[in-house]
């Protein structure tokens, strides 16, 4: 385990495995993911579409639905320092108490995450009522005005009675965030919270999330494929590829000194506005089929630095510097030449 000094964990995931049982075969969507999120930090999961970021985040409160199933590993949640809850052993009822009140989600597409049949106020009130914060929806709708004000919704008194179709994308996402923070969660999981929004709104929403985090002291798990967001908002980040974490480091370290060939390629694929570029780098090959993933390191077919061992055995996790771990043969004794 690589955890920064003085880390007070809020979520601890060890060797998590999630499979999806489809007609085409078993998709090994998550294959041995291990990480720890410290209380109060902003932790990022980065990776391209289909690499398992969202599945990992859903597994944290066991939201994986058939045909998917958590097949192994451990997930621990620490509601407060020293108090450990084994998520995988909780009953559905106990889980329900945690979902939406202690660990909540903000989804990618706010238009889809709101039920078109109910007003914003009603939906905020519903989550409060489900967790006993208010006893009646009507009371919750009154309190929803304050919550909408907290998420900087313009005209909260009016908007509380609006239906989702009457709001703009940014306002919808504010409502979704309002629903998520209504019960003062300890951990907020934001699954690509700005992907469906246009660029000017993106910054507003991210600033709002950080502002809320600062005010309430909650922990933020940010899931994104946008490296710009990672650089700007995260404390630590884990890079995922094909269902595994290939590298994890504090954000500055990750950008300054990327170790894994995939991370390096990913960073090269981001245009630098300060430098003139004739051609944007891309990573050759395509994302592997997770029904029959490549043996050994899952990145080896696309890796410019691959060695024989890469296609035979799964690379071990190597610790390089403070809180910087990487799963790559280059940095082991066997493949030490290139890593040297």
């Amino acid at each position: 385990m690589v955890v920064p000094e003085g880390c007070d964990p809020i979520i601890e995931v060890r060797d998590l495995k999630v499979n999806f049982y489809t007609y085409a075969g078993v998709v090994k969507a998550i294959d041995g993911v291990t990480f720890t999120i410290c209380r109060g930090e902003t932790y990022c999961l980065v990776g391209e579409t289909g690499c398992g970021k969202s599945v990992t985040s859903k597994a944290l409160t066991r939201l994986i639905q058939p045909p998917g199933r958590i097949e192994g590993g451990e997930i621990y949640y620490y509601p407060e320092p020293g108090k450990r809850v084994d998520i995988l052993k909780l009953s559905e009822k106990e889980l329900r108490r945690i979902r939406g009140s202690e660990i909540t989600y903000v989804y990618q597409d706010p238009s889809a995450a709101l039920d078109p049949l109910y007003t914003i106020g009603y939906q905020v009130a519903e989550t409060m009522k489900a967790h006993g914060l208010v006893s009646r929806i009507k009371e919750g709708v009154r309190r929803a005005v304050d919550i909408l004000r907290t998420v900087a919704m313009p005209d909260p008194e009016v908007r509380v009675r609006s239906y989702p179709h009457e709001l703009s994308g940014g306002m919808k996402q504010r409502s979704v965030i309002g629903m998520a923070i209504a019960n003062r969660p300890k951990l907020l999981i934001a699954d690509e919270p700005t992907t469906a929004l246009d660029v000017t709104i993106q910054a507003q929403i991210m600033d709002l999330l950080l502002e809320l985090k600062r005010k309430t002291g909650m922990t933020l798990l940010l899931i994104t494929h946008n490296l710009g967001l990672v650089a700007e908002y995260c404390d630590r980040a884990a890079v995922m590829y094909a269902g595994r974490i290939v590298e994890e480091a504090p954000v500055r370290e990750l950008f300054k000194n990327p170790l894994h060939p995939y991370t390096q390629a990913l960073l090269k694929a981001v245009p630098n506005p300060l430098a003139r570029m004739d051609k944007l780098e891309s990573i050759p090959g395509s994302v592997p089929d997770l029904i029959r993933p490549p043996r050994g390191c899952r990145f080896h077919p696309r890796c410019p630095l691959r060695m024989d061992v890469c296609s035979r055995e799964r690379p071990p996790e190597v610790l390089r510097g403070r809180g910087h771990r990487v799963a790559c043969w280059l940095y082991t004794d066997e493949g030490g030449v290139a890593g040297g």
Binding site: T61, P66, G100, A112, P116, A130
Partner: protein, 384 residues
Amino acid sequence: MGEEVYEKKILDRLVDLVVDGVAGLIDRVRPGWKKRREARLSELKLTLYALNRSPTGLLGLALVLFFIALAIAGPYIAPFSYDAQLIFCDTEARLAPPGKVVVVEEGSICHQVLGVEPGEYKLWLGADDQGRDLLSRLLYGARTSLVVAILVMAVGPWIGIALGLIAGYKGGVIDEVIMRIVDVFLAFPGLVLAIALSAVLPERVQAFLEANPAATSIALDLFAVKEQHVGPLARLLTVVIALWIVWWPGYARLVRGMVLSARENTYVEAARALGIPTGRILRAHILPNILGPLLVYLTLDFGAVILVAAGLSFLGLGAVPPLADWGRIIYDGSQYFPNALWLIVFPGLSIMLTVLGFNLLGDAMRDILDPKTRRRIEFKVKGR
């Protein structure tokens, strides 16, 4: 757009008048109500405009409303009671053809025992072999049909809807078990099952009615039946119970299918992630979102229940004389076919028009409930 401006018709203006009037009244009692419901009221108006543009829908609605009005008022406006055997007044009343006049004399059995006022009566639709006025019996029969249909539809489909919701949402083993039971029920002809149940249940229902006078008096009032006819009423209620048992599997299958697609909505997953209890997700987030097609199906089924209930009575199950039931009237009248044709034609027409009404209305609702229809009309009304 803009090539076609929707002209408000008289019916549309009537809709405006009624909706605005009622809203105004409520607004006066509860200030601010109208403003809060503005969006809903305008949607309601558009829905009714859409209905106004569908001639078949209007015809269906008219037939249905006519049927419901008769069913409610029937027992009060009927010239005679459903069991008034006029042959005791006038032997001519036996199988009297439509338009025949019968005479009730002062001091006759009719007057003294049945309580029919003396005088001359014209039997508009004729009478059956006991001299019972067909018009009166059809009016009482409307009540019977409506109450049977309501009782069946108030329970049967909802068993199916509940099971379909659970099966579709939970999936896995629960889904398999529920749907295989549904398969068994659907493979077994519903009518045959209902017949078997109607043959077995009557004694128990009667025993139940005798043990529960409160329930009995409610049932008697609902069906507008006299107290001495509890026995026949028990047989009618048996049909209701039998139909509860056979009426749900179709709904379970229909609803499960719709739930399978509705549960994929992100807001359902979001509700789960927010810790909303499963029961509430089903009730508040899935059911309302599949209600449109379900409503169409329920409306169509109202007619189907009336038809099947009449069919069971025709087969001699369910209502027995002297209770008035359209199916039973046809069955009894069939013995005098083709001489007393009115005994078959009029109840037959009653059934046909009622079922037709529900079917036309249900078909029209498919279009009316489609939000796109409303938007198209909205654009035209606003003259864009």
